[in-house]
Symmetry: C2
């Protein structure tokens, strides 16, 4: 009864062609080739062209990110959804892995004890692991603030922060605080962002290094 | 250095107040109290007020969804991200569980063999389990089409479809096909949607039944 495209690679190719064709109507920002792959994948994931106007690439972020992925590293994600969404099959080819501590028993206990978010405590735990070179924050401004505090205190020195927490309380402010630093970062300014956007960015970086998928 | 709110329940309360205050600027659609809780949670998740204008509640969807959750059921999600994002602690209180078959070995093998998406094959597998009463599609139009085909063939009769696949190829069309049926559904029309939106809807339904979290 229903006629539709049912080949995954054809669907993706056709989607990216449509996005590339429509993008100039929504944004006149110039991106380099690698940045454009990230922008297109964010739009592919959200069907929201506004992301082209909200994204900010800072301090050689793409090159730094590609470099540490290629050398194998741990990536910390602030949500289980990001952990689930990143293509772990491709990630493992580079000797990389993605981790999240939000459901760890010690994290839960400390968050209750201190009356702060689990995201905050989980981030503090992540900052103690210096194999983690990329931090991906798609949900909690409190996680991003905790990360910035740890960096100020000299307890973490990431190669890349993907700073895309979403929301109405603290999200925009936390991302502006990140932009005040000289850390390599990919940021969505304002309230928008979220786990699917974070996943799109990580996957876009990996796919630049791996065309065999 | 940074001053910010760090109490999870206060952050959520403040967010919902901001959303309720701003919503009338973006939409003049009237929602009943339960629908409004879903709309607000979708906006909370995306920071995108357009969702208020894209959502469609059909055939007593909210009541049907609440009823089957309360009686304990399986929920099929078309992505691992949805499975990861739904609050499984609250879900288990109702004797419910969420499942996803996208990474099952038999699904992978059949998808390659037939040259169709894994989402399609996984959905066919889900339709053979009559404990699954709610289908949540946040990603793949092909999964929604496969579900509709199974329903037409009398092989599935869900109590609720949350139909929010995102994208540029087939997503809008698949959701319009769903709207042609008399199945209870919550749908985001057009291209937008995605796993975070799907999770927001499922969690909003659960939270209406559970204020103890």
């Amino acid at each position: 009864m229903h006629q539709y495209l049912n080949d995954p690679m054809k669907i993706e190719k056709k989607s990216f062609e449509l996005i590339a064709g429509e993008l100039p109507k929504h944004s006149d920002i110039r991106f380099d080739e690698k940045q454009m792959l990230i922008v297109q994948r964010m739009i592919h994931t959200t069907a929201d062209f506004e992301y082209a106007n909200l994204v900010s690439f800072n301090n050689n972020a793409v090159e730094r990110g590609l470099n540490v992925i290629q050398n194998g590293c741990r990536i910390y994600a602030d949500t289980k959804m990001i952990e689930a969404g990143v293509n772990s099959r491709v990630l493992s080819r580079f000797g990389c892995e993605i981790v999240n501590y939000i459901s760890d028993d010690d994290v839960k206990a400390q968050a209750v004890e201190k009356g702060v978010t689990r995201s905050t405590i989980a981030m503090q735990k992540a900052c103690r692991d210096n194999r983690i070179r990329i931090f991906v924050i798609g949900n909690a401004p409190t996680a991003l603030y905790a990360l910035l505090k740890n960096i100020e205190d000299g307890e973490a020195s990431p190669d890349l922060i993907i700073g895309v927490p979403v929301g109405f309380v603290g999200a925009a402010e936390s991302k502006e605080a990140l932009l005040q630093t000289d850390i390599p970062s990919i940021v969505i300014r304002g309230r928008k962002g979220g786990s699917t956007v974070a996943v799109a960015i990580v996957n876009a970086l990996m796919y630049m290094l791996d065309n065999s998928r």
